[in-house]
């Protein structure tokens, strides 16, 4: 057994750690550990590479590693939580850029050696630098859009699709030429390569420019997948298995994620991936007039609820209409089993007759001592992690505090004081009093649209699995 075998084994361990690490990201309980495992895998791979290769000059390598690490660590430390998506975008740009550079460097190295290039090597270099470059500029544009440096609106110009398509074909042709498929006239390969890279960079920017700000998270996810592919291509270039494996992992993971996110936003993948050729834009937000609301699905609601410490349920007429009382009780029971503190806040005029909610909840066997009336609970809301409003509307409408409103003077449940508020109803339509509800448009509010019975059933399933 020679040394190279040992190195190969080490790389295999590293690759396996990547897979295991990603797997641990499946559940919030193990996710941090998973991330740490992946970082460990990276460390193992780096150390093995350094030991395996006869390093000609350590200076450059050490400088590169130190500078990169410092920048990365500082950026990661200082970024605000709300800026996370952009940050991921920009990191991604660097990853893609690095892959492109690796491919480029290898190209230069082979050129300088003057050796003829194998088709397969040419292919790898071409793909690596193309995808890497697209990722690089694409990610930067996405970053700019999210950060507000570039307008979040889709930017379009005439014949955009055609132009992009032509650019793409040109890149392909040049790439093929470089790989030796045909002669390149009098141009030196290096020149051709520079043009090729230039076109790729341009393409990356142009692909992302026409996509709207709301779609950016999907775009970043897709670019993430690209950067994985670029890394895999780099792996082919330098013939390193761990690169190929982790590149493929990220490529596949990114793709699956992108598809999942598209589904959640009701967009087709083609729509986002080939934004160029489409150029339309959509928004993940359901808007009433011009005010945007945040809409979530059962899985997200379940996660918010399951990781809360205290939950207050505000039932309203919609709960009765949907006859979702049994499902509601079920969900709350599961939460209680998980240690969440659950209360029900009953507004005196919720529903359509005095005591409507009492009848409903008694039917579902909700214990009396979990029901609290307005006076008892209103002070609790600010200490409540999540309020779940089920088919209630007027009774949680902060509009009542303004004297001009038709419901002025009606005391309401102050759910807007809670940290988060999930509202289950079918649409943004008003309740009994027929007026719009500003609560829906608050920052901490999440709308969970759908018939309450159906939504609640879905929620039960998801909460159990969360």
């Amino acid at each position: 057994m020679d040394l190279s075998f040992l190195f190969d084994l080490t790389y295999l361990v590293s690759a396996t750690l990547f897979v295991v690490g990603l797997k641990r990201l499946q559940s919030p309980a193990t996710a941090r550990q998973g991330n740490a495992l992946a970082a460990l895998a990276m460390l193992v791979a780096i150390v093995a590479t350094l030991v395996e290769n006869d390093v000609l000059s350590w200076t450059g390598i050490l400088i590169g590693m130190t500078v990169g690490s410092l920048i990365g660590a500082l950026a990661a430390r200082m970024v605000k939580m709300t800026d996370m998506p952009q940050m991921v975008g920009i990191f991604n740009a660097f990853g893609g850029g690095a892959s492109a550079l690796v491919a480029g460097a290898e190209f230069v190295r082979i050129q300088q050696m003057g050796a003829p290039m194998a088709t397969s090597t040419g292919l790898s270099i071409g793909l690596g630098s193309l995808i890497g470059a697209v990722t690089f500029t694409g990610s930067f544009v996405a970053f700019g859009k999210l950060q507000g440096l570039i307008s979040g609106n889709p930017i379009t110009f005439p014949l955009q699709k055609t132009f992009n398509a032509l650019l793409f074909l040109a890149a392909l042709a040049l790439g093929a030429g470089l790989s030796g498929a045909f002669a390149l006239g009098g141009l030196t390969p290096l020149t051709v390569f520079m043009v090729f890279i230039g076109i790729s960079l341009l393409l990356g920017a142009l692909l992302v420019i026409p996509i709207g700000g709301a779609d950016m998270p999907v775009v970043i996810s897709l670019l993430n997948s690209y950067s994985g592919l670029a890394a895999a291509a780099a792996g082919f270039v330098v013939g390193n298995m761990v690169l190929i494996i982790s590149g493929a992992l990220v490529g596949a993971a990114g793709l699956i994620l992108t598809i999942a996110m598209c589904k959640a936003m009701n967009r087709s993948l083609a729509n986002v991936a080939f934004g160029t050729f489409g150029g339309e834009s959509a928004t993940a937000q359901v808007a009433s007039g011009d005010k945007p609301v945040r809409s979530i699905d059962a899985e997200q609601a379940a996660m918010v609820l399951a990781y809360a410490q205290s939950v207050v349920v505000v039932p309203g007429y919609g709960l009765a209409v949907a006859q979702a009382q049994h499902e509601l009780r079920k969900v709350m029971e599961i939460l209680e089993e998980r240690g969440v503190d659950v209360k029900y806040a009953i507004h005196p005029v919720a529903g359509r007759m005095p005591g409507h909610m009492n009848v409903l909840l008694a039917e579902a066997d909700v214990p009396y001592d979990k029901l609290f009336d307005l006076d008892e609970i209103n002070d609790d809301f600010q200490r409540t992690d999540v309020v779940l409003v089920v088919g209630a509307n007027d009774v949680v409408n902060p509009e009542s505090r303004s004297p001009q409103s038709v419901i002025a003077g009606m005391p309401i449940l102050d759910v807007d004081r809670a940290k988060n508020c999930i509202i289950m109803k079918r649409s943004l339509s008003p309740g009994f009093a027929g007026i719009d509800n500003p609560l829906f448009y608050l920052d901490g509010t999440m709308m969970f649209f759908g018939d309450a019975k159906v939504s609640m059933s879905d929620l039960a399933r998801e909460v159990r699995e969360a």
């Binding site: 990365g72 939580m81 397969s120 982790s246 918010v304």
Partner: protein, 92 residues
């Protein structure tokens, strides 16, 4: 079998494993997951290291060092940001 084919095998299998592993992740974890995967894509650093280590000319050397730096930003920043996000999910 050629290098290329072997690489292809490995690539396909890894992709299969990757998609299987990811398909079960709940949406709330999508962002940290994306970020974690993004950090992994900084694996390009390995390629950069190999290139730098074997650099035969200054230009390759420079390209390699820049590539290393860029990849390290991705790696270190990526893992750290992911960790920060995940801290929010800690179950009390």
């Amino acid at each position: 079998m050629g290098e290329m084919v072997v690489g292809l095998y490995v690539f396909v299998l890894a992709a299969l494993a990757g998609s299987e592993v990811i398909s079960k992740v709940p949406p709330t974890l999508h962002t940290p997951l994306m970020s974690g995967a993004n950090a992994i894509s900084g694996i390009a650093v390995i390629g950069a290291l190999v290139i730098s280590a074997q650099a035969n000319t200054p230009i390759v050397q420079i390209l390699g060092v820049v590539a290393i730096a860029m990849a390290m930003v991705n790696v270190v920043g990526g893992f750290m940001v992911t960790d920060r996000m995940l801290q929010m999910f800690k179950k009390k």
